[in-house]
């Protein structure tokens, strides 16, 4: 018997809101299965479990905001005896800590509430309006609550990334027009609007607050980085013409969904280069650097409206170009409008940030702890460039490396930039 807890989704996270259980008591899950959805300043995150387990009791209710480490469920290993006797089960309710209003407080026993043991797995969402239009982006919990309350998601202003409708937005709407939710009690286990929508109290997630929370999270992580990590910076400007020409030829005649963006070449080149310089790929924690064999390449994704997230593309070193492009498409879409997984937001081993066309010539990025390196790609720029002792107009690119001097030196850092340059000059090898 063990406890499944609210995971930490980064050093900057203090609490998360359990918005959906994807398991019910008695379910057996395998390593890597997604068992719940938690809403944080990074949006809705799918929570994976990292051991095979059988769920005995769900301790936390959907809609509860809980600090990192709070027990969410009781589980036991498959094959082991589920020692959750009825009396034991009854006592588990005491373990549910109250939802902290703002900041985590010392845990107090919560009022006894029935666990949501009977909650059926949420059925697939069916559009509530007979329309060919795609539904607006929304978090899963927001969709569920809106559907149960008979609200049209399209009529709710979203405060999440990309205007996504969050649970709190639906709750705010219900607070404003409670009659819309008259029959909400008919179905059990709906996240209770009252938990966050008490009249007269500051609303925890008014439109705009979510972006403020993300900004705070960035501030916390970046302040920690600049406080703790002695950065050094290298830059190299390279001839991007071979890669530009090669990519244009490759994409020509292809339909849009088969095209590859230059960013995929950058990621592929960086992932391959990182395998050659292990001092730049891994985590530095508690005074020790642990290199990683796999390259989980964090991709800095700018959110429309401000802020950014750097979810990791796992095992990026083994992804061929088309697979890399598919992974980037999927990651960017989910970072902006959908769900990321906890492994994606916590397990990156090196990060890549790319300005894109029209951006600044170079960027000197701040390392995302506990990582030890971040590679910055400036915007491609047409420059007079010397090729074979002649000056020619070429598309060039400035690549930078910010790295942790506790772990590596400029010489090793240079190796990474040289390798990226070599690979981008021979794009057909990517």
């Amino acid at each position: 018997m063990s406890t499944f807890k609210m995971p930490s989704l980064g050093a900057d996270m203090e609490e998360g809101k359990l918005v959906e259980w994807l398991v019910k008591p008695g379910d057996t899950v395998a390593h890597g299965d997604v068992v719940a959805v938690v809403e944080t300043h990074k949006g809705a995150i799918e929570i994976e479990i990292f051991e095979a387990a059988v769920f005995d009791t769900l301790l936390a209710k959907e809609g509860q905001t809980l600090p990192v480490g709070a027990p969410l469920a009781r589980v036991h290993a498959p094959g082991a005896a589920p020692d959750a006797a009825p009396d034991d089960r009854a006592s588990t309710e005491e373990q549910v800590p109250p939802a902290p209003a703002r900041r985590p407080e010392p845990l107090k026993p919560a009022a006894a509430r029935p666990a949501i043991a009977e909650t059926p797995r949420t059925p697939p969402i069916t559009p509530s309006r007979p329309s060919a239009e795609a539904p607006p982006p929304a978090s899963p919990a927001a969709r569920v609550l809106a559907r149960k309350a008979g609200l049209d998601l399209g009529a709710i202003a979203g405060s999440g990334p990309g205007g996504a409708v969050l649970l709190a937005d639906v709750e705010a709407r219900l607070e404003a027009a409670p009659e819309a939710a008259q029959d909400i009690g008919a179905e059990e286990q709906v996240p209770e609007p009252k938990e966050v929508a008490k009249p007269g109290e500051p609303h925890p997630a008014k439109p705009g607050l979510d972006m403020a929370a993300m900004r705070q999270a960035i501030a916390a992580a970046m302040s920690r980085s600049k406080r703790e990590i002695p950065h050094y910076y290298l830059e190299r400007t390279i001839d991007l013409q071979p890669a530009t020409d090669w990519l244009a030829a490759r994409n020509e005649g292809r339909d849009p969904d088969a095209r590859v963006l230059m960013g995929a070449l950058f990621l592929r080149a960086t992932a391959l280069a990182a395998t050659k310089v292990p001092e730049l790929n891994g985590h530095y924690e508690d005074g020790t650097f642990r290199p990683s064999k796999a390259v989980h390449a964090g991709l800095a994704v700018a959110m429309r409206g401000g802020g950014l997230i750097a979810p990791a593309i796992r095992d990026a070193q083994s992804l061929e170009l088309d697979a890399m492009m598919a992974a980037i498409r999927d990651m960017v879409a989910r970072a902006r409008n959908g769900r990321l997984r906890n492994s994606e937001v916590t397990q990156g081993t090196i990060t890549i940030s790319s300005m894109g066309e029209g951006g600044a010539d170079a960027l000197y990025a701040v390392i995302y702890p506990p990582q030890v390196a971040i590679v910055g790609f400036g915007a491609p720029v047409r420059r007079a460039w010397v090729v074979d002792d002649a000056v020619k107009p070429r598309t060039t690119l400035t690549v930078t490396l910010s790295a942790d001097h506790r772990v590596s030196d400029g010489r090793r850092g240079t190796r990474l930039l040289s390798e990226i340059e070599r690979l981008l000059k021979e794009p057909e090898t990517l």
């Binding site: 239009e133 990309g162 205007g163 996504a164 849009p256 963006l261 960013g263 498409r329 879409a333 409008n337």
Partner: protein, 81 residues
């Protein structure tokens, strides 16, 4: 399709790529990348969506011709007749 229908279709796909944009406030001469801040992935998603919806596959070499809603409608209209 009339130009007005193409414009509506274009704005519909644009605002699903960038859901924070209000179709009512997008100007015909707004530059998709400079003014509306579409990045290369957004732009590719838009081109992909236009291909699916209208059957027009805009090659990379023509991206500059769909840089604003006005020029995009003209470009698409020429290829939909």
């Amino acid at each position: 399709m009339t130009d007005a229908e193409i414009r509506r279709a274009f704005l519909k796909e644009l605002t699903s790529v960038a859901p924070d944009l209000d179709p009512a406030t997008v100007g015909d001469d707004d530059h998709l990348q400079d003014d509306l801040e579409l990045d290369s992935m957004d732009f590719l998603n838009l081109v992909t969506a236009l291909h699916k919806r209208l059957g027009v596959s805009v090659p990379e070499a023509d991206y500059s011709q769909i840089a604003t809603p006005r020029s995009a409608v003209r470009y698409l209209a020429d290829r939909l007749v």
